[in-house]
Subunit: 183 residues, 2 copies
């Protein structure tokens, strides 16, 4: 199964693509679409949409996982983030890929085992779970990988592996249940 | 000049297309993209994007005018609105059309002459300025026509007509200045 995680933002949209057989996760590619230098906000959206469209066509994931944010700093920043998130979701749906959403707490629970984990803990676990030598850069790429891992640790894949199952809508499995599937 | 106004919303996105020679405004078409019945939120975004893309290809406007909202009820509704607004802007930019934004106060000033006008006043003036027998339905279509009229009453078109000019970024012209251009 190949999952493509997206961490949207108008200036920088992180992405991370992971292959998994249900036991071992393998990093395929990660990075960030940098749209902050565009002449206008509509141009930023175009860059995000087009670059994600190219990446999705190239990597052909089975699923796109994206963070579901309910609490923004304020309405204005939420509105701006919504634009970036909207075109990111559109890129996935136009590529014919299913979009699944996870809340920040679900992602933290699935990756660290604790819904209120700090960002450095999440980053550290992303590194460990993907067997990397260092935490991926930039931070947005790590965040995108975290949401992709969250999807891999939730739902069908775990079911196939015979592990404790959590649907994407409910609580993600605790690390205890999926750590067993590391080699 | 042909202006295509958009009033984005995840359930219903209003649109209104107007032709103008700088003196007389002529309604070309208005209506609403109804995406509320879609199976999922990503599907709603797809419907908005695709239907607007078709409409823009059909009507080939010189400009897309869209309301710029800073103050939403709360961050969650702002985030949702941002998604719809993002894909609407993307449809315009992918169609090669310039996008201009106006605040609600600018639109009200340009259409009614008062930045704190009520919605029924704006709707009534849209009807009068377009020489219609009735206020267009649904409300989202009227709102989209209002932002299109705001653009027609701002900037270059007024400059060509020798009227008092207001750039799209600054205060829109008062009704006094553009009422002279009605036949």
């Amino acid at each position: 199964m190949r999952v493509f995680g997206i961490d949207p933002g108008s200036d920088r949209t992180g992405y991370g693509c992971i292959d998994s057989d249900g036991r071992v996760h393998q990093l395929v590619r990660c990075g960030a679409v940098r749209a902050g230098a565009a002449d206008s906000f509509p141009d930023q959206l175009k860059i995000i949409y087009r670059e994600l469209t190219v990446l999705l066509a190239e990597h052909r994931p089975d699923c796109v996982a994206i963070e579901n944010i309910f609490h923004a700093v304020n309405a204005r920043s939420a509105l701006k983030l919504g634009h970036a998130r909207g075109v990111a979701m559109l890129a996935a749906i136009e590529a014919g890929v299913t979009v699944v959403e996870y809340t920040p707490a679900e992602i933290k629970r699935a990756v660290v085992g604790y819904g209120r984990a700090e960002k450095p803990q999440v980053a550290q676990m992303v590194k460990v779970l993907l067997g990397l030598d260092a935490i991926p850069k930039p931070n947005d790429a790590t965040d995108a990988l975290a949401v992709a891992i969250c999807h891999l640790h939730s739902g069908n894949l775990m079911q196939k592996a015979g592990a404790r199952v959590a649907s994407p809508k409910s609580q993600a499995p605790s690390p205890k249940s999926w750590r067993n599937y590391r080699p």
